[in-house]
């Protein structure tokens, strides 16, 4: 069972601000869905290897040749905030610490 406390933890892990009422509904949805998933927990998978990706390709490298990159002005044009060629973001570390 996913508890209210679990929901707060998941919201923090996923960096999602969700209003209390929706959090409550989501908790009910998730519990109903996770209940349905219980069916596979009882399947015998002893000795079965995980299948994480459908094709097994290994170390495919492309040739190390110089090509022209995306123009910096095109990329900067997408930025929420930009200063001197850098993306500007809110402060990460509180300077008062």
């Amino acid at each position: 069972m996913i508890s209210d406390k679990d929901m707060e933890h998941l919201k923090t892990l996923a960096r999602l601000e969700i209003a209390p009422e929706e959090t409550h509904h989501l908790k009910d949805d998730l519990n109903k869905i996770m209940d349905y998933f219980e069916q596979i927990r009882h399947l015998d998978t002893e000795g079965i290897e995980e299948l994480a990706r459908p094709v097994s390709l290994h170390n495919i490298f492309r040739e190390d040749k110089i090509v022209s990159p995306l123009a910096p002005e095109l990329v900067k044009a997408l930025a929420n905030e930009e200063e001197n060629g850098f993306f500007k973001v809110p402060r990460t570390v509180d300077s008062s610490d």
């Binding site: 960096r15 601000e17 996770m34 998978t45 995980e50």
Partner: protein, 487 residues
């Protein structure tokens, strides 16, 4: 709307200008948009400029490409240079990609013209197109019904005659299911045959670009253009030599063995869908194929497996929409980075996307990883093994595409689990990474179209499209008719 191969032929031989074709397509797009909300953007000026460039090439005696002047509609989670690409999300409301996805680059190089960016469930998460931040698209056969999803707008575009070809993406059935709901063909290639470079990721081990069309020849034409190795996608199959056009026009199916999946062809399907399966079996037999039954014992666990794997991958892929660099930022910088991220994501990601991110976060979180995500990956192997065994006996596997035809808007949107369960037939191909096609199969209930699905082993795509062409030849013009939508 003519077929792509007919349009290209007329444009290449100067019978018709690319400009005239594209103008007609844009006018139809406007009419469809007004009533069915199938598009998020209609890049009129860029489309007409591209058409003029093709006409100029022809006037200069240059080769305009095998898809010269063919209008294509592209799902709005595939990057188009200079054309806004939203993925159906508010978080990418202002995102104008500075580059093309490889599939777009190749289509345009062959002379195809992007006429519209199609509506979709946000980031491809949904089966009804009701999860779009830009409002739901509607079904052209009955506007009170959903067009399916997540490539809903792409399917509407083809079935209502805006373009002969549309691109979608298929993570758990998102090309095949809307194709079935609109009475057209929806093809999901083997994982790795089409580049995912420039395709906005949902679940990277399951995502594949797919094609919606009304003719096998059109699918073959665009696949020969788009498939083949791409060095920008590390999962692109090396040394892939597509041979689709050369594989068409099977007059019969003598010697071909087809296995109908026992677990998916009984209870849970409507009578109309079961009748479509029965008609398909008869047609296959008439064409000389041997139709038997095959069991996929783990198929019933496909939904639980898929809805653990896909959200887990999504929770990681969607971490980038944090409002920091280019996705929509909400909140003052003074709040600090963590707070701005929480606000930006909370305000710009829709309810279904939030639900799946939380599901995935839970399945991957400490203490639950082995019980959920790890377990799902093992069951995924069991499902792939079932299919491998089936293919040792049969050339193709047959199922319905969906358990029902298109339902009414709002009918299932309040019950996420009920909506997930409808993906029972389609998720298997993504979990195993194999090729699959939804083929029009006439009408189910209340005059609404439905489809049947054929699965083929990995890299047997050409053989699958050959099967499609045999079914098409046998049925002629009744195979994938345009919807009756007038506009």
């Amino acid at each position: 709307m003519m077929f792509a191969h007919e349009i290209a032929e007329q444009v290449r031989t100067g019978k018709r200008s690319a400009r005239a074709v594209i103008e007609e397509s844009l006018a139809r797009a406007d009419a469809v948009q007004a009533e069915l909300n199938a598009f998020i953007s209609i890049p009129r000026a860029a489309a007409l400029a591209a058409a003029d460039a093709i006409d100029k090439k022809i006037a200069n005696g240059e080769d305009p490409g095998v898809l010269a002047g063919v209008p294509v509609v592209v799902k709005d989670n595939i990057c188009t240079k200079g054309i806004r690409t939203t993925a159906g999300s508010k978080s990418l409301e202002h995102f104008v990609p500075p580059y093309n996805a490889t599939v777009i680059e190749r289509l345009q190089a062959a002379g195809a013209v992007v006429v519209a960016k199609a509506n979709l469930d946000e980031f491809g998460m949904g089966s009804s197109n009701e999860n779009s931040a830009y409002g739901p698209a509607r079904n052209p056969w009955d506007a009170s019904r959903v067009p399916g999803g997540s490539s809903g707008g792409s399917a509407v575009a083809v079935s209502s005659g805006v373009a002969p070809i549309a691109l979608g993406t298929d993570t758990g059935g998102s090309v095949r299911q809307p194709a079935a709901f609109n009475g057209i063909i929806g093809y999901k290639p083997t994982y790795g045959r089409l580049s995912r470079y420039g395709v906005i990721a949902f679940a990277s081990s399951l995502d594949q670009v797919g094609v919606l069309a009304r003719s096998s020849k059109d699918i073959a034409l665009v696949m020969d253009v788009m498939a083949g190795h791409d060095e920008h996608d590390a999962t692109s199959i090396p040394e892939d030599k597509p041979q689709f056009l050369a594989s068409l026009n099977a007059a019969d199916l003598a010697g071909i063995k087809i296995g109908l999946v026992t677990e998916l062809s009984g209870e849970g399907n409507t009578e109309g869908v079961l009748a479509a399966i029965s008609r398909t079996k008869d047609l296959l037999s008439r064409l000389g194929a041997q139709v038997g039954e095959v069991s996929l014992p783990n198929a019933p666990y496909g939904i639980a497996t898929y809805y653990l794997v896909a959200p887990a991958e999504a929770s990681a892929n969607l971490a980038r929409y944090d409002g920091m660099v280019y996705s929509t930022r909400i909140g003052e910088n003074a709040l600090g980075q963590a707070e701005v991220m929480m606000k930006s994501r909370g305000a710009t990601l829709g309810p279904e996307v939030r639900r799946r991110i939380l599901m995935g976060t839970y399945a991957l979180s400490s203490g639950y990883y082995d019980a959920y995500y790890g377990k799902a990956l093992k069951v995924r192997r069991l499902i792939a093994n079932d299919l491998e065994k089936a293919f040792s006996e049969f050339d193709f596997v047959l199922t319905p595409t969906t358990p029902t035809a298109a339902y009414k808007l709002g009918e299932k949107s309040s019950d996420p689990l009920a909506m997930y369960l409808d993906d029972i037939d389609t998720v298997l191909a993504n979990l195993a990474g194999i090729a699959a096609v939804s083929v029009p199969a006439g009408k189910a209930e209340e005059g609404m179209p439905c489809g049947v699905q054929f699965l083929a082993p990995a890299m047997q795509d050409e053989k699958l499209i050959r099967l499609l062409s045999a079914l098409e030849l046998a049925q002629g013009e009744t195979f994938a008719p345009l919807s009756p939508f007038k506009g």
